[in-house]
């Protein structure tokens, strides 16, 4: 069994965990981060993409709102290129009566959230599709964020500071020593999800940043942590109906926020308390509710082309709380297990939201330093991650680069303008086990055709690239490059090409293109079934003809292979069902 010794072990490769790894590495600690799937596979990769101004919580949860606005300002500096400066409207529709708008404005003033009531004419000029019956509009500094890119950029910064990142490494159990009253967590035993190989990681401090899975991790050391998993369903519209974040100016509820992020607009969300963070079926009423509520912001939205529905799960935490997840606090929750459970060497960080991930990391590492008896100041707030020099993301960015550099002939995913070079670089730089990993890296298959034209191309490219390459070398993959080259640039930049001289780290572990193909099609299909009508149905009919009639993919050999993605779409699927059999219709 392999053994790694480190100062800080971080469990969870979402925004929080990667933020902790970044923070800890900048403070000079040796850091290892483990993630059981791909980076952002959990809640981080399934949220609607809002960079909160704090406006949403300003009346209900002022503490949370203050955290948001402070972090909003910091992230605009540290993760500039991961953010689109869309601005945000809080709109009052005829249904939103009462004194909430005035309380909202007063609360914004009190908490320091810049908020200006703007003339309706101006609002409708900027967002012509807005409900014309909206009677007041407040503007706040909301934005939209690319949580995939931001997490990778954070990881890149952490790697440059020496952190080791092990993805597809699942925690088997926490390691503990000592008896009752004097127990301590000394690390964790992890298993490579692909090879099955186990590794023991010994750490002075273990940080549980596994979000909705935090209870399961803590339970392996017999520590009770009751996360309140709040499922949120989101629905994406085929293109950006709005270019500003649109919030309803009322107490936060279901379906009251519309976020323009990349090429789509996302309406969200529901908040349903669930029991298992892996099992997130999307119920028809949830989709209907999103569309009905969406119509109140942009009349006709429910008739627009709906691209996809998916669910994420909030890792809410409130000590002793037993109510609805909608009313649970959004504030971050740091569990000091030494004080709470008498177990040292172990902290759980949960709650919060994407916008506050940096603060969550800082709070956690401040506590870790205190417990380790060292004084090292947090540096993340003043340390931009690689890539910020580009400035804010803008919608036309990819098109602009493809046009300027004449890359039209290299497009693999035409909808999201993903070039062959982007895919190859992603596969070289990240352990790529499934095509879904590439989706998170470069947005492969996220556009209108939902993988119809790019899945077979990408599977072919990976198969081609795999030939003649050695097996994956984990050590090599984990070692940061010698230079400070911005290695995640390929994620959003079609023109970026590290070329033949770039760090070529072959670390792919699956060389079965049929499996890559089938898994990805099934994964895409899963998000389509809840919204399969109208124009998207036409699209799927074409995709069906391509894959089933032309390629006969439901009879591709070998049909009993599985990957971590297979588990994912088989396990968690449409209402009521528990597992699809392979070979079912796509």
């Amino acid at each position: 069994m392999n053994k790694i010794s480190t100062d800080i072990l971080v469990i969870g490769g979402g925004s929080t965990g990667t933020g902790v790894a970044w923070d800890a590495a900048l403070r000079g600690f040796r850091v290892v981060l483990v993630e059981k799937r791909d980076l952002t596979h959990g809640t981080t990769g399934r949220y609607h993409g809002l960079l909160h101004s704090g406006g949403r919580y300003v009346v209900k949860d002022p503490q949370s709102a203050i955290e948001c606005i402070e972090e909003n300002r910091i992230l605009r500096r540290t993760h500039t290129h991961c953010i689109e400066d869309t601005s945000g409207f809080f709109v009052v529709t005829p249904e939103d009566e009462g004194d909430y708008p005035d309380r909202f404005r007063a609360a914004c003033a009190k908490t320091g959230i810049p908020c200006e009531e703007i003339p309706l004419k101006e609002a409708f000029r900027r967002e012509p599709l807005l409900n014309p019956r909206i009677n007041r509009v407040f503007e706040v500094p909301d934005g939209s964020a690319d949580s995939f890119l931001a997490t990778h950029a954070t990881v890149q910064a952490a790697r440059q500071a020496g952190a080791q990142i092990l993805i597809y490494h699942e925690v088997v159990g926490l390691l503990t020593e000592g008896g009752e009253g004097d127990r301590r967590v000394t690390g964790a035993r992890v298993r490579d999800a692909v090879s099955g190989e186990e590794t023991v990681i010994e750490a002075a401090m273990t940080i549980n940043a596994s979000g909705a899975w935090a209870g399961q991790i803590a339970a392996t050391a017999g520590i009770p942590v009751r996360v309140i998993p709040g499922k949120g369903v989101m629905v994406a519209v085929n293109h950006r109906l709005v270019n500003t974040v649109i919030n309803r100016c009322k107490m936060p509820a279901d379906g009251d926020i519309l976020v323009p992020v990349h090429t789509v607009a996302i309406i969200g969300t529901t908040d349903e308390r669930v029991t298992d963070p892996e099992l997130l079926p999307i119920e028809p009423w949830e989709v209907q509710l999103m569309l009905d509520e969406g119509d109140k912001l942009v009349p006709g939205m429910s008739k627009a082309r709906i691209l996809r529905a998916w669910a994420g799960v909030r890792p809410l935490y409130q000590e002793g709380y037993a109510g609805d997840s909608r009313d649970a606090t959004r504030a971050l929750a740091l569990l000091d297990h030494q004080q709470r459970d008498g177990v040292s060497g172990f902290l759980t960080i949960t709650g919060g939201k994407w916008t506050t991930f940096r603060l969550m990391a800082q709070t956690t590492m401040d506590k870790a330093c205190a417990q380790l008896g060292v004084e090292r100041a947090c540096r993340t707030a003043d340390t931009p991650v690689p890539g910020t020099e580009q400035g804010y993301y803008w919608l036309g960015h990819r098109l602009h680069e493809v046009e300027e550099h004449h890359l039209q002939g290299d497009l693999v995913c035409e909808c999201e303008l993903v070039t062959r070079a982007m895919i190859e670089q992603a596969a070289q730089n990240n352990p790529t086990v499934t095509l879904d990993d590439l989706r998170r890296d470069v947005r492969l298959g996220m556009g209108p055709c939902q993988g119809g034209f790019c899945t077979f191309r990408a599977a072919g490219i990976l198969a081609e690239g795999g030939e003649g390459r050695g097996a994956r070398d984990e050590e090599e993959a984990a070692v940061p490059s010698a230079t400070s080259e911005w290695e995640v640039a390929y994620m959003q930049s079609p023109k970026h090409n590290i070329g033949a001289n770039g760090a070529r780290r072959s670390n792919r572990r699956f060389d079965n293109p049929n499996l890559l193909l089938r898994d990805f099609l099934q994964e895409r299909w899963r998000g389509l079934t809840p919204v399969l009508w109208g124009r998207q149905l036409k699209q799927e009919r074409l995709d069906e003809l391509i894959y089933l009639s032309v390629m006969n993919v439901d009879h591709l050999p070998p049909d009993d292979d599985t990957s971590p993605l297979t588990e994912f779409w088989q396990f968690d699927t449409t209402p009521g069902a528990t597992a699809h059999k392979e070979g079912d219709e796509l």
């Binding site: 293109h239 090429t263 960015h397």
Partner: protein
């Protein structure tokens, strides 16, 4: 740029199922890699556009010729050509417009200017030195088939001169001649007037502006709006009075019918009146014929005639009415072209960087004409710039079907391009 609405062309991007049929039919992307195809620059790129963006991300959409073949073949109804026209307008709004495109967009103004002294203007425009300079300075291709100003006066001069001879009747029709007939080819207007009068109509020719299409296709939406407003002001009254407004230029009539109101989001009552009353002249003649009111006292016309329905005609979605009417003419043997496009697409093929593309696109049509054999003396096409391109690409004179029809009535000499006076 007018704001988007649910009815706007912008939202038709949602209809795209990425099937690539448009790209496989696009005559431009078939001959050059500079144009990545209608799907790419249309519904696909549209998801990355935001009119409020500081800069336009586009370049290659400028290579769309606007022929609208993509719209015609799209199985789901994406308004691709209009998406492209709007994207080009964004580039223009953002980066400005070269003087060349400003000039090429201003057909009406050029026509007027040249008509002060047509021989001088023709010499000025067509001598090798000025074409060389125009290419170097203005980037207007020196070989491109530019028109010549009429040396026998404008169409309106002729109308004035012959005012007393013009037929009066209770049956009235309004004629929209467009700029080319006015300044370059008055004989097209003469043939049209002769045909309509022969069928018992009094032809009203009101004051009118350029339809604005050259401006629309060069991305100058503001100036195009002014022209269209002018036309609505001058013509909507006739439409409201129930008179048909017919035109001999398929692209002008298409602009009044559809392009201008749609691209410019002009859906006021008067624009709609004008739009509903506008006809292609052969569309209107076919209607007459179907009602039994078209005179068929044709002479035999012994010609083998390759006929190309221009892209803009196909965009009318009215079939090929000129073909149907010409089929009534005894002796006339028509060979119907199925080529996608002649390549010129208005002012597209005049531009030095696009001239060769336009010629390559047109090759399919030129080959078709050549394949008709030696006995062919003319080709025919409804659109002026397409005829000029056809003549340039085939060395064969080209005629408007209305000239053929006028000749069949014995009113017109196809060779001299003038009326035969009784």
């Amino acid at each position: 740029m007018a704001p988007i609405s649910w009815h706007s062309v912008d939202l038709s991007l949602d209809e795209c199922i990425k099937c690539n049929i448009c790209t496989s039919y696009c005559p431009v992307s078939a001959v050059t890699d500079l144009f990545p195809g209608p799907k790419y620059v249309g519904p696909q790129a549209q998801r990355f556009r935001d009119p409020d963006q500081a800069t336009s991300p586009d370049h290659s959409v400028d290579y769309c010729s606007g022929c609208r073949v993509c719209n015609e073949v799209c199985p789901t109804g994406v308004k691709i050509a209009e998406l492209n026209a709007r994207a080009r307008a964004e580039i223009v709004a953002d980066k400005g417009l070269p003087l060349r495109n400003r000039l090429l967009g201003r057909n009406e103004l050029l026509g007027k200017l040249g008509s002060f002294a047509p021989p001088l203007a023709n010499f000025g425009l067509h001598n090798p030195l000025s074409r060389f300079l125009a290419e170097k300075v203005m980037r207007i291709a020196r070989e491109a088939p530019l028109p010549t100003w009429s040396t026998t006066g404008t169409f309106r001069d002729w109308l004035k001169r012959t005012a007393k001879e013009r037929r009066k009747s209770d049956k009235k029709v309004v004629y929209y001649h467009g700029c080319a007939t006015m300044y370059y080819e008055p004989f097209i207007g003469k043939a049209a007037v002769a045909v309509m009068e022969h069928n018992g109509f009094e032809v009203i020719v009101p004051e009118q502006n350029c339809c604005g299409l050259p401006l629309l296709s060069n991305g100058e939406f503001g100036a195009a709006r002014n022209y269209h407003r002018g036309n609505v002001g001058k013509l909507a009254g006739f439409a409201r009075a129930g008179l048909p407004i017919v035109g001999t230029s398929t692209s002008c009539t298409l602009t009044l019918k559809e392009e201008a109101p749609e691209l410019l989001d002009m859906d006021d009552e008067s624009s709609v009146q004008l739009k509903m009353a506008t006809w292609d002249i052969f569309e209107w003649l076919r209607e007459l014929h179907e009602a039994g009111d078209l005179r068929t006292d044709f002479r035999t016309v012994d010609l083998k005639l390759p006929y190309h329905a221009p892209c803009q005609m196909r965009a009318h979605r009215i079939g090929k009415p000129a073909l149907e009417i010409m089929a009534l003419i005894p002796g006339l043997e028509i060979a119907e072209s199925h080529a996608r496009c002649c390549g010129i697409a208005g002012t597209y093929g005049y531009k030095v960087e696009k001239y060769q593309i336009a010629m390559d696109v047109g090759a399919e049509l030129f080959d078709f004409v050549a394949a008709q054999g030696d006995g062919v003396t003319y080709s025919a096409c409804d659109s002026e710039t397409c005829r000029w391109q056809l003549e340039h690409g085939t060395d064969l004179p080209s005629r408007h079907p209305i000239e053929i029809l006028a000749a069949a009535y014995g009113l017109y000499d196809l060779d001299r391009r003038d009326l035969i006076l009784a």
